[in-house]
Symmetry: C2
């Protein structure tokens, strides 16, 4: 981070016509954006959300309210511009990029970037979700996407995902990385009932017992109990740090990916912003480990990057305030 620019940005914010600190986390956001870009008043005209898609073998265990096929249907929906993330992106002037890193779709609709590493993970209850080499390949997809987004001139990126079964994988990754008990982390995902919730908790516990992921090795955790889109988001976040690209995380799944990235490279945190607090119980635990505070608290649990894009106008507001507000000197004080 450009610490001198941050100090200048803080000084500028402190002179605006408001009590010191009165814009709360909007001020922190603005100052960090300045530190990332090296501009005292950064610009956020070009925004993008990158949606990484993958399927999950663990759906065999009855952990989701929807069948795996819904991943493919939603990929088509993204391409038609009619999912929640598309609507929010249009509403707030952001672009959408859809990346298939691991879905079971054999024919991809126009508009999807085909970066498929494999057609869905294996059932992690019976063995590793993927190999270490596949996890690294998925991470590389994310790294490259971050570089492409930077090269395309985007100044603010959000990461999101689509993958039926991926709250199960995210809870397993969270349990492994944080050491917290599964029952504290497992949630209802797409909205499962008590019977399915019990099955989901059991599946997570068994995946951890069977695979014994090494909590000190985030790559091992992502490979054994993660997912292709989770690994790709970890890669994107690592790339965001390398590229100095401000990146907004979404709900529990992207935040699990962010924690894996943070454990690999603690410096990624400087480039990360939390958007909203999800209903999924693991989300708060993960955000706390990352020491990131979300701006929105609306009991959402949709994924796709929808919550991250919903926060984009708050970033616009933070920058506009710094750019357009009068200073006390302007008022003759």
């Amino acid at each position: 981070l450009h610490v001198e620019t941050m100090a200048e940005a803080q000084k500028h914010v402190d002179n605006l016509t408001k009590p010191l600190g009165a814009l709360g986390r909007l001020e922190e956001t603005f100052v960090r954006l300045a530190g990332i870009t090296g501009e005292t008043v950064p610009s956020l005209d070009r925004k993008v959300v990158v949606v990484f898609c993958g399927d999950h073998g663990v759906t065999e265990e009855g952990v989701s309210a929807y069948p795996s096929e819904v991943t493919g249907l939603m990929i088509r929906n993204f391409c038609d511009g009619k999912a929640a993330v598309n609507v929010f992106a249009r509403c707030y002037g952001a672009k959408v990029r859809v990346v298939d890193v691991g879905s079971q779709l054999t024919e991809l609709p126009a508009g999807v970037l085909n970066r498929k590493v494999r057609a869905g993970t294996a059932n992690m209850v019976k063995g590793p979700a993927m190999s270490g080499a596949e996890a690294i390949q998925a991470i590389r997809v994310g790294l490259e996407m971050a570089q492409e987004m930077k090269e395309q001139g985007f100044q603010l990126a959000a990461v999101g995902e689509m993958g039926i079964g991926n709250t199960t994988a995210a809870a397993a990754v969270s349990a492994s990385l944080t050491g917290r008990p599964v029952e504290e982390l497992v949630g209802r995902g797409t909205g499962i009932d008590d019977v399915a919730l019990k099955k989901k908790g059991e599946a997570i516990r068994r995946s951890l017992e069977v695979n014994q992921p090494d909590p000190s090795d985030p790559l091992d955790v992502l490979a054994k109990v993660g997912g292709l889109e989770l690994a790709a988001m970890t890669g994107f976040i690592l790339g965001a740090c390398a590229q100095r690209l401000s990146t907004v995380i979404d709900g529990v799944i992207s935040t699990a990916s962010a924690l894996a990235a943070f454990r690999l490279v603690p410096g990624v945190r400087d480039y990360l912003f939390a958007s909203h607090l999800s209903e999924e119980p693991a989300h708060q635990v993960l955000l706390k480990q990352l020491e990131l505070d979300p701006l929105i608290d609306a009991s959402m649990r949709l994924g796709e990057g929808s919550g991250a894009v919903l926060s984009f106008p708050l970033f616009d507001g933070a920058v506009a305030a710094a750019r357009e507000m009068a200073t006390f000197a302007d008022l003759g004080m």
Copy 2:
């Protein structure tokens, strides 16, 4: 509320391509907007924030980090379009209306609506802030503004305020209406130090002892320990209910006004939306009494309606989602 329209709107939202309830409070917001307007897919193209301004005699007690004159300077700043609320309003496509209901300014800048009831309240530590007749007159200003905003075609309104000393009045109103101890409700407002915080708590306690406002009579409370802009906002909220105008409240001051309105007419709650959770400790207590949940949690404490306007794009997003998302039937499910 149009309950049949709400049922239709809920049914529509449940068919969209997302898990049931996954957009959380955005869905509740949308359904209630439908209930208010009677339209299954309401429109929010025209938005406004009304900023009520007034001065406070209690500033004599050293309760604020700024002198009373800052109220007038900020009124000029609003008219120049350079305060935080103006910037956010431009950013999110909303209009700003500035209403002087009780400032000490003798000459008003162009653009301020002159509805002055009196030039600031009296020091409530020494007697009532204003007479009952003056409080009713200020309420009428708010009622009329709600009617005007409705007549001007606005579909979503926010209320805000400017008045050095008004977190002191808001805390006194809150203590009286809720019966909670002053030390639980008093906050640092514009950012006072520990010495001034102690003075502020003392001033609130003395104002309640000296005036003995009747907690069961919100008009008595507003007159004795409230403020002109607080009473006007209470009037606006009563008017919003009468006009079926969806209204977003801001921080602790507008929420104290909302609780007074709610105690007078419990039905106002149907037309009210919370925007953000302020740093001021009384805010959470007041929102709980109103049973309203804020969408944004960004540690803001600026007032002016700035937090309410910051939530406008989330309302736009809620409506856009309902209007533009595909249904599961569209995907062939």
